[in-house]
């Protein structure tokens, strides 16, 4: 740096430090170590999509009229000239055709929203399958689930603002879901819509929710999310030299910040590319909203598919009691099921910690195979979600593949109940199989691919043992004792490479408890959940030597 620039920088730093005492904070921040793994970038994609949403969203608010006043369109799009429509729809058409760059901003905004929700879901899966939600990060998980729900609601509100035929159908369905709530449904519906559907108040109110209220909550929650990561430090996968008590990676300044800045612009660039060249939400093709019209094959945005599917697959149950109707066919798929799903998702870390009696701090991540039951439960949940997701497009599938619509719906209904348990079983066995493979690797080493023929005529394979560091890390992940052939290697750097008994990898912090009968229904439930979480259902090994493959272990 030139002498002048250096002097100026020093002066600035002292100016700020004089007033804020920021020197040590700055130094610690610049030195802060960030671990490296591609899967840690998924959350960053969500963060950068959020920034784009905020920037393009501000642009859109400058042109959009959130009003249900009826106007006659006289803009550039000829097929709709002279047609009566709401000012919201007309201003969207104006933005798309008469404002230079307006359509680009609309499409970038919509693609960024899709990428935002998609990256949140993928990021949540990464957190789940690697066990990053465990203590001390459970609170962050709750905030994350809240952010996910808000992102989905925000997306729904966003694409409903232009008041076109496709999104208006979605609002109609949402109104019916509100009405179906027992006792208060009609009051809520009338309050939210200012009367009967559709009314003239809904679009302006939705605009305030979409532009001010929900983004405010998202920004606040997201800031808390980031501050917690900063304070608690990021988790990392086990590896050589990595322990529960350190972080290994790149320092924040200058390496990490420049890398992450590059990634920011790459994400921006890809979203801009999508917005420029991939058409999304062409509202002029749908026409203005009319409660007496609907298009065949109407589909919401992808993150609402699971709700569409649940509405389509639900059998037609309705009960009539003393002059009051409860529409289970709307209430369950629209209110109760998503409520249960998101609640379970939010509470899962607490349930798992309670069931496994795990009170320790965890900073190292687990591989999905190291926790077969958690992984299998996650795959089961994703299967359930996936079938609901597919169910939302049953008519499109039937039309594309020439299936009977009724048969498709019935097949999906049956699959919804059958497929998740099957997925659970398969995933669990796969995880256990992968663990077996790892154990083979640990005990016998790599296959070198070299076959040796013994004088007796027998063929054996030559294996070479894992490097010691790798072996101890693998042993810790599998939760087995590991001796490196000629005596135990000292744990690297006092890492506490755990030799916890099988059934819990990592610093479990579980108290040594003698076998005791649990007393009380809750304690018994807890014990049975614990057994469920750790059981492996392996056939007993009768004679270990019989099962060992003949290998030549090269010393």
């Amino acid at each position: 740096m030139s002498a002048q620039a250096e002097a100026a920088t020093k002066k600035t730093l002292r100016y700020v430090d004089d007033r804020l005492g920021s020197a040590s904070f700055l130094r610690r921040s610049m030195n802060k170590v960030f671990p490296d793994h591609w899967s840690f970038l998924l959350g960053e994609i969500a963060m950068y999509s959020l920034i784009i949403l905020l920037l393009t969203g501000v642009y859109l608010t400058l042109f959009f009229h959130a009003s249900s006043e009826t106007v006659v369109y006289h803009g550039r799009y000829a097929p709709l000239r002279g047609v009566e429509m709401t000012d919201a729809y007309a201003s969207t058409l104006h933005l798309s055709f008469d404002v230079r760059g307006g359509l680009l901003m609309r499409q970038i905004h919509h693609w960024a929203a899709l990428l935002f929700v998609l990256s949140i879901i993928t990021h949540a899966c990464r957190i789940y399958f690697t066990g990053a939600f465990r203590k001390p990060r459970t609170l962050n998980w709750h905030i994350g689930v809240g952010l996910m729900v808000l992102a989905i609601l925000e997306g729904f509100a966003g694409y409903s603002l232009p008041d076109d035929l496709l999104s208006g159908t979605g609002i109609r369905i949402a109104y019916s879901v509100i009405l179906s709530i027992p006792v208060v449904g009609t009051y809520l519906g009338y309050l939210v819509f200012g009367g009967n559907f559709p009314g003239v108040d809904f679009i302006p109110r939705l605009f305030v929710v979409h532009v001010l209220l929900v983004p405010g909550i998202i920004i606040a929650l997201f800031s808390a999310h980031m501050m917690m990561i900063w304070h608690q430090k990021h988790t990392d996968f086990p590896g050589p030299g990595k322990t529960e008590h350190n972080v290994v990676g790149t320092p924040f300044f200058p390496t990490f910040i420049i890398k992450t800045n590059g990634f920011l612009f790459l994400v921006f660039g890809i979203i801009a590319g999508l917005g420029a060249f991939a058409q999304i939400n062409p509202v002029w093709l749908y026409g203005p909203y009319d409660p007496s019209q609907v298009s065949a094959g109407s589909q919401p945005d992808f993150y609402i598919f699971f709700l569409e599917g649940s509405l389509r697959l639900m059998p037609n149950l309705e009960t009539n009691v003393l002059g009051h109707t409860i529409s289970w066919n709307i209430l369950i798929p629209g209110v109760i099921l998503p409520g249960i799903m998101f609640t379970l998702m939010a509470l899962y870390p607490s349930i798992e910690a309670w069931a496994t009696k795990d009170k320790a701090f965890h900073n190292l991540l687990q591989r999905p195979r190291d926790v077969p039951v958690r992984t299998a439960l996650g795959v089961m949940a994703l299967t359930f979600y996936g079938i609901l997701f597919i169910g939302g497009q049953n008519d499109i599938l039937a039309r594309t593949f020439d299936w009977s619509l009724q048969a498709t719906s019935w097949t999906l209904r049956v699959l919804l109940l059958l497929a998740p348990p099957i997925a659970f079983y398969i995933t669990k066995r796969l995880c256990l199989g992968l663990q077996h493979h790892d154990e083979e690797l640990l005990h016998h080493g790599y296959e070198t691919g070299i076959i040796r023929r013994l004088p007796s005529g027998e063929y054996i394979e030559v294996t070479s043992p894992l490097p010691a560091e790798k072996a101890s890390v693998l042993a810790m992940q599998l939760g087995v004792e590991h001796h490196n052939g000629h005596g135990a290697l000292p744990a690297p750097n006092g890492s506490g490479a755990n030799v916890a008994p099988r059934g819990g990898a990592g610093d479990t912090g579980r108290a040594e408890h003698p076998i005791s009968r649990p007393v009380g229904a809750l304690a018994r439930a807890r014990a049975s959940l614990e057994n469920f979480f750790f059981e492996r259902h392996e056939p007993p090994r009768t004679n270990p030597e019989d099962e060992e493959p003949k290998t030549l272990k090269v010393p």
Binding site: Y77, P136, I181, G194, K259, F263, F277, S298, P465
Partner: protein, 403 residues
């Protein structure tokens, strides 16, 4: 026999630096161990190879961490100094300590490669700058009504894409080729405070709480709880005027006795002969201004062949084999639109509820639980279809007070 180096005192010291060991894993024989390079393997491999080239040679050296080009690097005093400059930065109180890249036995920086890398990054930024200028110019220069603005969209969007991607590429190349690949290790301090801190905090809180008097003064506590419970209420109450109370409006549509049926698009009244047998038409009550005003009013007028209608009640409410049913699906309120003439099934496109229109519009498939309400038809003096009354039951999705 004395050793030059001092004997390691702990096992951790004996083991050495974890990152170094990661690069050169130790074996009991003391030689570096790599996959497939042990002496016996080489022996065997030698035998195998001697018999005819079966196993491929295993490379002895690991790949260098950073590719600095395929030429032998030129080492100058300046580059040496540059490398030294990347050495350990001062550690901080969090125990962050840096491991310089020269530590890994990295190849020294070749100034030609270095310069080339710098030019690459600069090129990326220049391309981005050019694309940005292009965007600004295109905004004014590109004809904005060509293909309804599609050309402008591509120009602005394409330019923006190139600019952003080029900036990103520039930063990434900078990080990969020009920045030091420092590895740092930082201590994670235990998050929870030391026991005495926690005890002090608890004590501070409880003593403070005790001094508020909330613990002991019952009247104070109860009155406070009362006001806390009551204070948020105006916030809720003030929201009441968001909308009217749900009234009979949910049970009414825009139809009155004597209203003519008019085509929803042409707004012309309908008489016998306008609809062919098997035909279907969406109708609204005459005099509706916009569809929103009568959102529950859209009605389907269907003409059947004689004797096609099976239900007696349906027959009773029909006129000249024309029947009228509510178009609003009883499931979630979508206007039902897909009519299968041969089977007289009406399919709602939203969630595929299917109604048998010849048989009281009963539900034959799908999540809808109730049949569609029927509108009783009549004809007026001029022969146009009219509604005999409003719908006799609430139209559309169910709600609690429906009955």
């Amino acid at each position: 026999m004395s050793d030059d180096k001092e004997a390691p005192k702990t096992a951790a010291e004996a083991a050495g630096n974890p990152l170094k060991r990661a690069q050169h894993p130790v074996s009991t024989s003391g030689e570096p161990r790599e996959r497939g390079t042990s002496s016996s393997v080489n022996e065997i491999e030698g035998e195998v190879l001697a018999r005819g080239n079966m196993a491929p040679p295993i490379p002895a050296t690991a790949r260098p961490r950073r590719k600095v080009g395929r030429r032998t690097p030129v080492v100058t005093p300046e580059t040496q100094a540059q490398q030294e400059a990347h050495l350990t930065r001062p550690s901080d109180e969090e125990g962050t300590h840096f491991l310089p890249e020269s530590y890994y036995g990295e190849e020294p920086i070749d100034p030609r490669e270095d310069k080339f890398a710098e030019l690459q990054v600069a090129l990326c930024f220049l391309v981005a700058a050019a694309a940005t200028v292009f965007v600004c110019v295109a905004y004014f220069v590109v004809p904005s009504h060509r293909r309804l603005g599609q050309l402008m969209n591509y120009a602005l969007g394409g330019g923006l894409t190139i600019a952003l991607l080029a900036v990103g590429a520039g930063f990434v190349l900078w990080a990969k080729k020009l920045l030091p690949h420092d590895k740092a290790v930082q201590e994670r301090h235990t998050l929870h405070s030391p026991e005495e801190e926690q005890l002090l905090a608890e004590e501070t809180f409880f003593k403070g709480f005790a001094s508020t008097g909330l613990g002991s003064r019952k009247i104070l506590r109860r009155s406070l709880l009362t006001i806390v419970a009551v204070l948020p209420l105006p916030a809720l109450v003030l929201l009441k005027d968001l909308g009217p109370l749900p009234t009979k409006k949910l049970r009414q549509t825009g139809w009155k006795a004597g209203d003519r049926l008019v085509d929803a698009t042409t707004r012309q009244p309908v008489k016998l002969g306008d609809l062919d047998i098997g035909g279907i038409k969406t109708v609204m009550p005459e005099g509706f201004t916009t569809p929103d005003q009568y959102a529950l009013s859209p009605t389907m007028l269907i003409r059947f062949a004689p004797d096609e209608i099976r239900s007696k009640k349906e027959k009773a409410w029909s006129k000249y084999d024309h029947v009228a049913y509510s178009k609003i699906c009883t499931h979630a309120g979508c206007p039902i639109s897909l009519y299968e003439q041969q089977t007289h099934h009406l399919l709602c496109p939203c969630h595929q509820s299917t109604f048998d229109m010849a048989n009281d519009a009963n539900v034959i498939f799908g999540p809808a639980a109730r049949r569609l309400p029927q509108l009783q038809l009549d004809v007026d003096a001029e022969g146009y279809f009219i509604a005999a009354t409003d719908y006799k039951e609430p139209v559309g999705p169910s709600f609690w007070e429906r009955g």
